[in-house]
Symmetry: C2
Subunit: 180 residues, 2 copies
């Protein structure tokens, strides 16, 4: 925070609360943005991760994602390197082709969190996946056109950033096909 | 919070911070979920709102959205009624057809906020829009297939829930056409 109008009103271990001219919001104690990855297999399936999320008290289906620069000594990690690392850690996949899709905010009324979304294609299994550092992640592969129906059938909770990523990925891939 | 494992570590005016077994997260001081509306005009344009967001210090383009039950005396407001009210307040539109799309989390690693998304069609201008209670909202209408390019051209910041809503709306409308 280099903002004279904003004051820290609670400092947690990973998350803090700020008051900017009467507006309260949550901020992570790292200024580095988060990355999320829309990874599409050659068979047209999207690679999703499911994990327990304490804030909502249940399992949530999400894009592979994480924070850049959250490893000691690698604070300057480029976003694309963070995306490659998180995809491999969480799903075991490496990708041949990477495309930056867009960045956006997850809930700009209550947090300054921003996420940069990447498209990863040409996937090859090169690791075990499942996450690191105490994460317990289940990987799912779902046909791109069936994700909403699949979530619905399972009664699964979804992180809305997952659907945002699918929209951006679908849009980008169809523009690329049209321009080819 | 009816959760013995979760303790309130900071209580703000609208937003509080909770620690659940060592995991910190932000929670609104209302337990009612938020609603977001994908409103599509008969000309195939989606109705977007742009407003200044203090947490990120800039204007953000979003779906019309708000909290249900946030008006005194109307705490039990149904989600669909909240969606109708927010769409009218923010954009001036009423809609003939409403479809519930899905609900999901905005960032389940740092907040328990959930949002229920609705599709609104058959729009008719019945009010001035622009928001209430100190809101200062600009309304945009953008062809459904051009939203990403439009955001990109303007260099506009986006709430990722906007793209999540577009994905769900597009999926739902194309299934409906296919089944017709």
């Amino acid at each position: 925070m280099s903002d004279s109008e904003a004051s820290l009103v609670y400092e947690g271990r990973h998350l803090s609360m700020v008051n900017r001219r009467g507006w309260e919001y949550a901020t992570r104690k790292t200024s580095r943005p988060a990355v999320g990855i829309v990874a599409i297999t050659d068979a047209g399936k999207v690679v999703l991760v499911e994990q327990y999320r304490p804030p909502v008290g249940r399992n949530v289906v999400e894009l592979p994602a994480g924070l850049s620069g959250d490893i000691a000594g690698q604070e300057d990690e480029a976003l694309i390197e963070a995306a490659k690392r998180e995809l491999l850690e969480e799903t075991g996949y490496s990708a041949k082709r990477w495309t930056e899709l867009l960045d956006g905010y997850s809930s700009p009324g209550l947090t300054d969190e921003s996420i940069t979304l990447f498209l990863a294609e040409g996937l090859r299994q090169t690791g075990p996946g499942g996450g690191g550092r105490g994460e317990d992640i289940t990987v799912h592969e779902v046909p791109l056109g069936d994700v909403l129906a699949w979530l619905n059938e399972r009664g699964a909770a979804a992180d809305l950033k997952l659907l945002a990523g699918l929209f951006a990925a679908t849009d980008t891939m169809s523009r690329r096909e049209r321009d080819a």
